[in-house]
Point group: C2
Chain length 215, copies 2
């Protein structure tokens, strides 16, 4: 039994190591230029072992996208007292992953640049929009957000807004300005939809969360 | 002289035909899968003629990106009476180009999906942010927009916001919901920064500009 557990555990570790290595390759070289041989070498596994876990380069990329989804979704926690404040914190966690985690960096890049992954990517964005809409509904219920603009419309625009902010920050500045750029997004949103009684508190959360020591 | 003019004009036409054909190839197949031979065939020119205008596939792609920049920038007109209203109209024109013009569709796709073009793309976004910041400065001067959030911050977030809205609309719905999604962006922005005396007028402009007959 212990042998089985150990092998299973080693298989999971090896699969994870392949995904991490593939993410570095995809993030640095793009999907087209990355090679199975290069991924196997970086992961320190044989091409046979790699093939056991993933049949094609496309399957590896889908694995990276799935893992990115899992890691970024794990950042979202529902804060009943301040649903919008919780979402601000989640966006900071995800921004941190975009700065530091090759799997998240590669996953978002793959999902946006290759139509071959658009099925997976489309479902991923549907799921994000639905979750963020839920947060705005909770924020309305908690009295943080007014209903001049519907929770559905707010959720449907915040997800692409964050997507564009991180993408343009990547293109213009290799994400050096990502944190202040996400902070600006939340400040504009707070002025658009947060009720006056909660606005200063939420703006303070945004300033605290995205303040850069050197800014 | 007339011969020279005619040849020069034919050269320009041929270069334009190559860019249009390349845009269709890049938009449908992506940069990696598009081929010089396929582009030459679609443009109805010899590979020699294509090579005279563009040395490499990368040079063709940069030509498409440049042409996209020119066509989208041409949509921006400064409206002294209502600078923000003018920007809303410009965004509608650009959304229309994203729906209908293969050069604009391919140019934005190429500029976002390939790091090999990030030099050109970065300059392109810098130029867009600077221009949109200028519009917000004019809107502040015209009394449309308040200064709670700076014109610099508003311009720096509207450009990635629009970028993300069109991209996520492409991924989720092949841009079927692009017009209402851009309308939502402007409604949120109007509530964040337009002074009360101008808000209803600008919201009416947004509704009129992005209303879909079937929505």
């Amino acid at each position: 039994m212990s042998t089985t557990t150990s092998m299973s555990s080693r298989g999971t570790d090896r699969r994870g190591a392949i995904l991490e290595a593939a993410a570095v390759e995809f993030d640095e070289r793009g999907f087209g230029a990355a090679s199975i041989a290069g991924i196997a070498k970086t992961a320190e596994v044989s091409q046979g072992a790699l093939h056991f876990h993933f049949r094609t380069k496309q399957a590896i990329a889908l694995g990276v996208i799935d893992e990115q989804n899992a890691r970024t979704f794990a950042a979202v926690t529902f804060d009943d007292a301040s649903p919008l404040g919780g979402l601000v914190q989640a966006s900071r966690t995800i921004a941190g992953l975009l700065l530091d985690d090759p799997v998240v960096r590669a996953g978002i890049r793959l999902s946006l640049e290759n139509r071959v992954f658009s099925g997976a990517t489309s479902a991923f964005y549907d799921q994000w929009v639905a979750s963020v809409v839920d947060v705005f509904r909770l924020a309305v219920a908690a009295g943080e957000v007014d209903t001049t603009i519907s929770a559905e419309a707010l959720g449907a625009t915040v997800v692409p807004w964050f997507t564009g902010v991180q993408l343009v920050s990547d293109v213009r500045a290799a994400r050096a300005d990502l944190l202040p750029a996400v902070g600006t997004m939340w400040r504009v949103l707070a002025h658009a939809c947060v009720v006056p009684a909660h606005r200063d508190r939420l703006l303070a959360v945004v300033d605290r969360t995205f303040a850069c020591p050197t800014a």
